[in-house]
Amino acid sequence: MTVALSIVVDGIAYGMILFMISIGLSVTMGLMRIVNLAHGGFALLGGACAHVLTNSYGIPFIPALLVSVMAVVVLALPLERLVYRHIYRFSELEQVLATIGIVFIMIASVNLFLGSTLLPIRMPPVVSSPVDLGFKVLPLHRIIVILAGLAVVTALYLLVERTRFGIYLRASVDNQATAASLGIDTPKVYLAAFALGAALAAFGGILGAELLPIEAYYPLRYMVLFLIVVAVGGMGSIIGSFVAALSLGILDTAGRYLLPDIGTIFFFLAITAVLALRPNGLLVKSS
């Protein structure tokens, strides 16, 4: 019984971190439909920035977090104007190639300035202090991530499904020429969505750094993990990504509790089963 409870609590805590670090990809890849392998790159840049701010300049965590997210947005805007804007029109394979190129350059840049070792982000000690939930001890940090995750999923859901911006975004992605002929300023819509994706990537990267520590090769090391969440969640579905991240978190945690020896095999076999049964995502019944 306590094992089951532990699995659920640890699983949700882990799953929420998965959600936070991959939700940005859900926006760029799922909604905007760019195969954005550079997603981790934005998380890396955000994390590296937060590392420099907290470690080298001693800036407290919260302001460093905000500044880093802003910095990534500021970087993403010209990048979108100059590079990504052309990438939208590419075929999927060309997008793979282009975004891999971008991610290589991001990695090389971080590597050049900060080296290839871990780039820890200093947090106030209280953040990592254990909180006793009665049946279980959970670090405060995880509780913060859980709350942040819930806030993000709600806000994004409302934005995409309930606002004109959401409609404009989905329309522009479906058919840019037609959306433009209807008077939708597609470049601006894309720019905003892309900046949102990059901001979420940075935000998630920094909050998730406790588990997936930032280092130059971060984007490549965890690329598969990000992709899995989006695939299991279903392209373009915010709620889907959320459910997928939590389920994967619980699944992976259960594997570690119950079948530690074959944890990895179990995890991937489970994913295979899920994708075979629900190829379009957890929440979408295959027709």
Binding site: R164, I167, Y168, R170, A171, V173, D174, N175, A177, T178, A179, A180, S181, L182, G183, I184, D185, T186, P187, G236
Partner: protein, 234 residues
Amino acid sequence: MADALLELDSVVAGYGATHVLRNLSLKVFKGERLAVVGRNGVGKTTTLATVMGLTRQHSGAIRLNGQSIDRLPPHMRSQLGIGLVPQTRDIFPSLTVEENLLAGVRNGASIEEAYELFPRLKERRHNGGSKLSGGEQQMLAIARTLMGKPHIILLDEPLEGLAPVICEGLMEVFHALSTQGKTVVLVEQHTRLALDFADRVLILEQGAIVLDASAAELKANRDLLDRHVGVAVK
């Protein structure tokens, strides 16, 4: 004659490096009903798409109300009052019918107007755009463009795939629009329909206008049409 509402002046345009329109010039006047006819592949769609800014324009000028618009991106042209109903309909598949309409709403238009025009759409309002029948898609495409309250409406074979009753109704709608002062440009394969509807008819061949005549003149002079468009006009 008054100044043209829309004017194309020696426009050369196409896709990539290919030229489809070769020195095309035409004028459309306010409140006019203009039909464009021609065989397959002569550039009718390309003409409309070029006005909208969706092709690559190599040279020439496009003016709306005397203002040059050929540097403007499509959405600015749309905001200036040009509306296009594309031949391929291009319904947004990941939006519902209602959201498709909302995507086009501007200038305080209400989607109830669209539902009045096409009750069928109201029945299917929560259906995904990709799950409509061919004719329903056509209705949605027309309604969606009208949601932007355009002054000049470019219709690319809007009747294709619609039931005859609906076609009749639609032609009446187009008529009504033009009596409200809107300008309608209709590309149509069915020459008879086009002649019945339009004041003036342009015949396109190989990316250029080969004939510009009033509908009445053409009706009277059938062999002129035959020569340019083909044998099947009955």
